[in-house]
C-alpha cells in the first residue's frame, strides 16, 4: 500500500538565497491526522503548499495517493481539499452561494446542505460572508475544502486567531473527517492543537524535521513526563545548575529568567530532595509548580527556543 502523502528530500530556495525548506522527508499513511508543528517561519507553509501542488519545489519528489503533480494535476485536485492560511472569500456572496461555487468545480461534489450541517453553518446559510465571525469564516473555509468530497484534507494553521470555543469546534470537525476515513495534514504553531488532534507529527525548524513521532513518543523522548519549575532567592545559574542536575530522577535542567525547569521521572522523589538542597544552600524558595511535560517542552529541549517566540 502506498502512502497517502510522501515526499523525499524536499527543498525550496527562494530567489536563490533563502532556504525555506532544506531536505524534508515525510510519509503519511491514509487515515492519519498528521501535524507539522513549528514556529512561524519554520517552513511549514512552504512545505504544505509544495505538497498541495501550489508551489514548485527546488528539488525533491512529492507523491500524493500514488500520483505526482507533473502528470496528474487535475485528477489530484479532485481528491484533495485545501484550506489556505489566509483566504478572504468574497464578502458579498452568501455562505451557500460560496459553497455552491466551490462545489461546481468538482466532478462529484457532496451536497452543500450536508456540508453546511456538518460545519454547523446551516443557520448562516443565507448570510453574507462579510457578516460572519472569525470562527464561522474559518469553518466556511474548511467547508469549501470538504464540499469536493476529498480523500485528503490540507489545513494550514486552521485555528490561528480563533477564540477557544471556535478552536474546539473546529477540532471536532477535523476529527469527524478523520473518523470517516479521511487523511489530514495540518500545520500549526499551537502545541495543544498538535497534541490533541494529531496521531503523529513532525516538529519543523529552519526547514527541517527535527523530531517525528506521536505526541506521547516525543514527550517520552524528553526522558521525563513531568516538569518541575521553581525559582529561589539565591543565585540559580552556573554551579547551582549542577546541583539541580545531580538531584535524583532529573533528566534535564533549563534556566530562563530566574525560573529553573527540571524534567523529571518521578516528582515525588525529586521534590523533597530539591527542597533539601535549597535549604542547604541557605536560599529561599519563591515559587514551585509541577506540570505534565508538553510538546512545548520537547521543542524547547530540541531548539533552546519557544514555539511562539516573537
Amino acid at each position: 500500500m502506498s502512502a497517502a502523502i510522501q515526499c523525499r528530500d524536499l527543498r525550496k530556495t527562494y530567489d536563490g538565497k533563502v532556504e525555506a525548506v532544506r531536505g524534508l522527508n515525510l510519509e503519511i499513511q491514509a487515515g492519519e491526522c498528521f501535524g507539522l508543528l513549528g514556529p512561524n517561519g519554520a517552513g511549514k507553509t512552504t512545505t504544505i503548499e509544495i505538497l498541495e501542488g501550489l508551489l514548485d519545489p527546488t528539488a525533491g519528489q512529492v507523491t500524493i495517493l500514488g500520483r505526482n503533480w507533473q502528470s496528474n494535476q487535475r485528477e489530484l485536485r479532485e481528491l484533495l481539499g485545501i484550506s489556505l492560511q489566509e483566504t478572504r472569500l468574497t464578502e458579498k456572496l452568501t455562505v451557500r452561494e460560496t459553497l455552491d461555487l466551490f462545489a461546481s468545480f468538482y466532478r462529484q461534489p457532496r451536497s452543500a446542505d450536508e456540508v453546511l450541517e456538518e460545519m454547523q453553518l446551516t443557520e448562516k446559510a443565507d448570510a453574507r460572508v462579510g457578516k460572519l465571525s472569525g470562527g464561522q469564516r474559518q469553518r466556511l473555509a474548511v467547508a469549501t475544502a470538504l464540499v469536493g468530497n476529498p480523500k485528503i484534507l490540507f489545513l494550514d494553521e486552521p485555528t490561528t486567531g480563533l477564540d477557544p470555543q471556535s478552536r474546539r469546534q473546529l477540532w471536532d470537525l477535523i476529527r469527524a473527517f478523520q473518523k470517516a476515513g479521511g487523511t489530514v495534514l495540518l500545520t500549526t504553531h499551537y502545541m495543544d492543537e498538535a497534541e490533541r488532534l494529531c496521531g503523529r507529527l513532525a516538529i519543523v525548524d529552519h526547514g527541517q524535521i527535527i523530531a517525528e513521532g506521536s505526541p506521547a513518543d516525543l514527550i517520552d523522548r524528553l526522558g521525563g513526563h513531568h516538569v518541575v519549575e521553581f525559582s529561589t532567592g539565591g543565585n540559580s545559574d552556573g554551579a547551582a545548575l549542577d546541583i539541580w542536575r545531580a538531584l535524583p530522577g532529573v533528566e534535564s535542567v533549563r534556566h530562563e529568567d530566574g525560573l529553573v525547569s527540571l524534567t523529571v521521572h518521578e516528582p515525588h522523589h525529586t521534590i523533597p530532595a530539591l527542597l533539601d538542597a535549597i535549604a542547604k544552600q541557605g536560599s529561599q524558595l519563591l515559587h514551585l509548580t509541577t506540570r505534565q511535560a508538553s510538546l512545548e517542552d520537547v521543542f524547547v529541549r530540541l531548539t533552546g527556543r519557544h514555539l511562539r517566540e516573537e
Partner: protein, 371 residues
C-alpha cells in the same frame, strides 16, 4: 473482535451522503459567472461608476456644450469718442441678433476679454478707424472679428458684390453631444474592462482567492472566460443605457444597426479585457495595479478623441494616435452610430483592436501569476 488491520486502502470520507448528480463540463463556468454577476450587483459603487456616472457626465457635458443660441458672440466696445456710434451701427446691422455688445471702459473691457467673457474688443481709433482686438488662437474670437466687421461694414453701407443666402443646419448627428456620446461609450468600455478585469484580478490575488481557486479542479480558462462574459453582459447594458439616454434626452439619431454597434462594443470590451489581464498579470497589490492602469489609460483619455477630436493634434502624430485601441474603438463607434457605417467598413479599426487584445492576451498567458 474482528481483525486488527488498520484503515481500508482507499479511505473515502463517506458513507452516509446525500447523492448529488455529477457536475457537467460547464458547471464551474456557470457558477463563476453567476457569482461574479451577483457580486457586481451587490456592489452599489459598481452600479454608479459603470452605469450612472457616464450618463451624468454626458448629461453635464451635453448641457454645457449645447448649441448656444446660434453661436451669438459677446463683444466689448471701449467707451469714448465714437463708441455710441459703433454700438448704433451694430444694432442696425442685419447681424444684430448674433452680436451681444456692451459698452465698457478700457480696463474692464480688456479684463473681460482676458477672462473669455468677450470674444472681441472694439475700439475707435484715429480718424474714425476701428481697431479690433482679438485672439487668433481662439476660434470664437476669430469668428467674432469677421462677424462684427461684416456687421459694421454693411451697416455703414457696404454693398456685397455677390448676393448670398445662408441656410442654417443643426441636424442631429453634427452636434457636440453626437460627437460626445460614442466617445463616452468607448471610454466607458475601456475603463470598465480595465477595472472590471484588471483590478478585480489583482484584488482576488491579494485576497489569496485566486490561489484558493487554483487549489480546486477549477479550469483556469473557465475562470477567465466567466470574468470576460460578465464584462460582455455589462457591456450590452452600458451600450443600451448610454445610447438610449442620448436618443431620449438629446434626440440623438442612431443610424447604425444595433448589431454592428454591439459587435464593435464586444470586440472593444474583449480587447481591453486582454489589456486589463496583461496589466494585472503580476501586481500583488491593488495600489500598484491602479497606478499601472492609469498609466495605460491616461494617454488614451487625452489622445483618442473622447471629448474632442484628435484632429486637433499635429498631423505627424495622428497616425500613431489612430493606432491606439481607444482611438480605433471611438472612431468605429462614431462611424457606426452616427453615419450608419457597416461592420466591414470598420475592419481596419477592428483589426487594430484585435491585435491589441490578442498580443496582450498572449503576453498575459506567459506572465500571469495565480498566486
Amino acid at each position: 473482535m474482528p481483525s486488527t488491520t488498520i484503515a481500508p486502502t482507499t479511505p473515502a470520507a463517506e458513507p452516509k451522503k446525500v447523492s448529488v448528480p455529477p457536475n457537467g463540463r460547464w458547471s464551474g463556468y456557470r457558477y463563476l459567472l453567476t457569482a461574479r454577476l451577483r457580486e457586481l450587483q451587490r456592489e452599489p459603487e459598481v452600479i454608479f461608476w459603470v452605469f450612472l456616472f457616464p450618463i451624468l457626465l454626458a448629461l453635464g457635458l451635453g448641457i454645457a456644450f449645447r448649441n448656444k443660441s446660434a453661436d451669438a458672440t459677446s463683444i466689448a466696445i471701449v467707451s469714448g469718442r465714437g463708441a455710441q456710434d459703433t454700438l448704433a451701427l451694430i444694432q442696425s446691422s442685419p447681424q444684430r441678433s448674433l452680436i451681444h455688445a456692451e459698452l465698457l471702459d478700457q480696463s474692464q473691457a480688456l479684463q473681460g476679454f482676458r477672462l473669455g467673457k468677450y470674444d472681441l474688443v472694439v475700439e475707435r481709433g484715429e480718424k474714425g478707424s476701428i481697431q479690433y482686438r482679438y485672439d487668433p488662437a481662439r476660434p470664437e474670437s476669430v469668428l467674432s472679428r469677421a462677424e462684427v466687421d461684416a456687421a459694421l461694414q454693411s451697416a455703414a453701407g457696404r454693398k456685397d458684390i455677390i448676393p448670398t443666402t445662408a441656410v442654417t443646419s443643426s441636424e442631429p448627428g453634427s452636434r457636440y453631444i453626437d460627437f460626445l456620446v460614442p466617445g463616452m461609450l468607448g471610454m466607458n468600455l475601456m475603463n470598465a474592462a480595465m477595472w472590471g478585469i484588471g483590478f478585480a484580478l489583482v484584488e482576488m490575488r491579494q485576497r489569496k482567492l485566486l490561489k484558493r481557486f487554483v487549489a480546486t479542479p477549477m479550469r483556469r480558462t473557465d475562470f477567465l472566460l466567466a470574468l470576460l462574459s460578465s464584462r460582455l453582459i455589462l457591456m450590452v447594458v452600458e451600450v443600451s443605457l448610454l445610447l438610449g439616454f442620448g436618443a431620449l434626452v438629446f434626440h440623438m439619431r442612431i443610424l447604425g444597426s444595433l448589431f454592428s454597434i454591439v459587435m464593435i462594443g464586444a470586440i472593444g470590451a474583449i480587447s481591453f479585457g486582454g489589456l486589463g489581464l496583461l496589466t494585472a498579470s503580476r501586481a500583488q497589490k491593488i495600489e500598484s495595479v491602479s497606478g499601472l492602469m492609469n498609466l495605460v489609460m491616461m494617454p488614451m483619455w487625452i489622445f483618442s478623441g473622447v471629448f474632442f477630436s484628435y484632429q486637433r493634434f499635429p498631423t505627424v502624430i495622428q497616425p500613431f494616435i489612430r493606432l491606439l485601441p481607444l482611438t480605433a474603438l471611438n472612431d468605429a463607434l462614431r462611424d457606426t452610430i452616427l453615419q450608419g457605417a457597416s461592420l466591414v467598413s470598420q475592419s481596419g479599426r477592428i483589426l487594430v483592436l484585435v491585435i491589441w487584445g490578442g498580443v496582450s492576451f498572449l503576453l498575459a498567458l506567459r506572465w500571469f501569476r495565480w498566486t
